[in-house]
């Protein structure tokens, strides 16, 4: 008797199921979005060795040269150049770092803080919840761009200051939504049973509530990446984004808008990159959500 139970409930069984489901999940990962994201991540990490030119190398002689498939285009600049003759392709490759890492940092910092606050607010309820929610409402009521303008003027324009000013807004959005989900999950019976057992509160939050609100967190995070890239471009447009010589996709779109009719490529390619990144992240997020949900994945 004891022997069978030892064999059958052996570590291999439990871990095999976990490992198999991870592998099975990976096999069903969406191919094109994963590839797009992988390429962008490689650009972000190793851009300076991949890019054919320095992204800030000015070459006035070659300014406004069109992409290679135009008659006047040359193979020197595959995707053309901007008004200062900087290579668009190189700027896109290097720009991936700023655009992606900005979103990543803001989601990591703001989203992380937001999830924690939302869990605490929703689970504790009562006065704690009321106070936290009023605080969140104050943040959500503030116009993002305006506050960012004031903040960046005050502390100076830098990558870090953009992250610092965008994170609280993101945290507030996450906290609001996670709190709502927490309110519904905490009423489920398994939470009551955990209390009966005497499971410590932090463990209830971590093992019972968080995994059951994680779907929403992932969907929100993938949606917010797109939002953040666009927000960064708005800030760049207003002159308070990432400082100019550093290329960022949003900044490039903003730069090109004056020449939209004469040199569309300055705007088009960074725009396509933003589109591809946002779309891929959304598809990737859908897959991640399904993979993390044991009811949706097959064993």
């Amino acid at each position: 008797m004891a022997n069978t139970s030892m064999q059958i409930a052996s570590p291999t069984a439990v871990w095999a199921v976990r490992a198999r489901s991870v592998l099975g999940g990976l096999r069903r990962a969406p191919k094109i979005p994963s590839l797009v994201l992988l390429v962008f991540m490689i650009f972000a990490a190793f851009g300076q060795w991949i890019a054919p030119y320095s992204p800030v190398a000015v070459d006035m002689a070659a300014s406004f040269s069109p992409p290679v498939w135009h008659e006047e285009g040359s193979a020197d600049h595959l995707l053309g150049t901007d008004k200062l003759g900087r290579d668009i392709l190189s700027r896109l490759i290097i720009g991936a770092r700023v655009s992606l890492s900005l979103s990543l940092f803001v989601i990591g910092l703001g989203g992380g803080v937001g999830v924690v606050l939302g869990l605490i607010s929703g689970y504790s309820g009562g006065k704690v919840d009321a106070v936290m929610q009023r605080g969140i409402e104050v943040i959500l009521a503030m116009p993002t761009i305006l506050v960012a303008l004031v903040f960046v003027f005050a502390v100076g324009r830098s990558f870090e200051s953009v992250i610092l000013i965008l994170s609280p807004f993101l945290a507030a959005r996450f906290a609001r939504i996670v709190r709502g989900e927490t309110l519904s999950v905490r009423e489920r019976d398994f939470v009551a049973i955990a209390k009966v057992i005497g499971t410590p509160t932090w463990m209830i939050l971590l093992k019972h509530i968080l995994p059951n609100v994680f779907n929403t967190v992932i969907v929100l995070a993938t949606l917010e990446v797109g939002h953040l890239i666009l927000l960064e471009s708005s800030l760049s447009f207003l002159g308070v984004g990432v400082p100019p010589p550093q290329p960022a996709w949003g900044l490039m779109v903003a730069d090109g808008r004056e020449f939209l009719t004469s040199a569309y490529w300055i705007t088009l390619f960074p725009g396509l990159c933003i589109l591809a990144a946002v779309l891929s992240l959304n598809l990737f997020g859908d897959w991640l959500r399904d993979t993390l949900d044991p009811r949706r994945r097959q064993l």
Partner: protein
């Protein structure tokens, strides 16, 4: 009385009526209003009554999920509200629960291993091999294959899920298990299996059950003593044989009469008219008097509650 495990004395729970800091709340809802009973070692005490009579609120107070407004709960002779630290941990080890809905009581994101392992981790710090052995053993105890430890709840039927919930409740070798409608969420065809499992476990492990149910057939099958609740009050307390043989309170009579008979030729018993009284503004005297056939004839019990009579203790 022999070996009282749990004693409930004058327990009451009043929920504050709606209202916020702008408008003063309405009248409070007296969900439970002075209930006393005890559960002895190795027995099943059944709490019956219709929906909303407060029986689940009693269970929640015993499980420390709700704070009583009045009254005391004593466990092994000690006041539960005085438990702190290790005493509280011990109480949470010795008192476990199985709830009605096995779809809501198992976390869909956890493997069975972790669901049943949770109390073992929290209380005994079991890890690795010891934990797996014990979980396998518990699964066997409730009639499931230990290999299912790797599965997730959605891979089980309702009856199997309830078995998992029972295995979790057994994990810490408790003395008392609160069974809140343990089979109401299950198909009729598997109710008997689960009930027999519970009876067998009680016999083998010497458990006490507080069974909360509205199903009198199950209560007759499982319980040793029965308490009947109506709108937050206990109206009758009897041993099972007395209760099913010779009910004293007209509400209990009405409850028993409302059990459907499987034979269509047997006429339905006399049912009672009227609506369940509101716990916000309960009737004076015996709360049942507004619907009571005896009251119609004698006008008793309107001002004062009937005295507890009987031969129980």
């Amino acid at each position: 009385m022999a070996n009282q495990l749990l004693e409930v004395e004058g327990l009451a729970k009043h929920f504050r009526g709606g209202g916020n800091w702008l408008s003063s709340g309405g009248d409070s809802i007296r969900a439970v209003d002075g209930v006393s009973f005890s559960v002895e070692e190795g027995e099943t005490f059944a709490l019956v009554g219709e929906s909303g009579c407060g029986k689940t609120t009693v269970a929640k107070m015993i499980l420390l999920l709700e704070q009583p407004t009045r009254g005391t709960i004593s466990f092994q002779g000690k006041d539960v509200s005085s438990f702190r630290g290790s005493g509280l941990r011990e109480y949470k080890r010795l008192v476990q629960a199985v709830f009605q809905d096995p779809y809501s009581s198992l976390n869909p994101r956890m493997q069975v291993m972790d669901i049943i392992g949770e109390p073992l981790r929290v209380h005994q710090g079991l890890r690795g091999r010891d934990l797996r052995m014990r979980v396998g053993e518990l699964l066997e105890n409730v009639g499931l294959n230990p290999v299912t430890a790797a599965f997730f709840p959605h891979q089980f039927s309702g009856g199997q899920r309830q078995r998992i919930a029972i295995a979790r409740a057994l994990a810490l070798r408790p003395r008392l298990i609160v069974l809140d409608e343990p089979v109401s969420g299950l198909d009729v065809s598997i109710r008997a299996q689960i009930l027999n499992l519970l009876v067998d476990l009680q016999r083998d492990l010497g458990l006490s059950y507080l069974l909360i149910s509205h199903d009198l057939a199950i209560v007759e099958h499982m319980s040793h003593r029965v308490g009947v609740m109506y709108v937050g009050k206990m109206v009758e307390l009897a041993t099972r044989d007395e209760f099913y043989g010779n009910t004293l309170h007209p509400y209990s009579n009405a409850l028993l009469a409302s059990v459907p008979q499987p034979d269509p030729d047997v006429p339905m018993g006399t049912t009672i008219g009227g609506e369940v009284a509101s716990p916000i503004n309960p009737p004076s005297g015996c709360r049942f008097h507004t619907r009571c056939p005896i009251y119609l004839e004698t006008n008793m019990c309107r001002e004062v509650e009937p005295e507890w009579r009987g031969n129980l203790s």
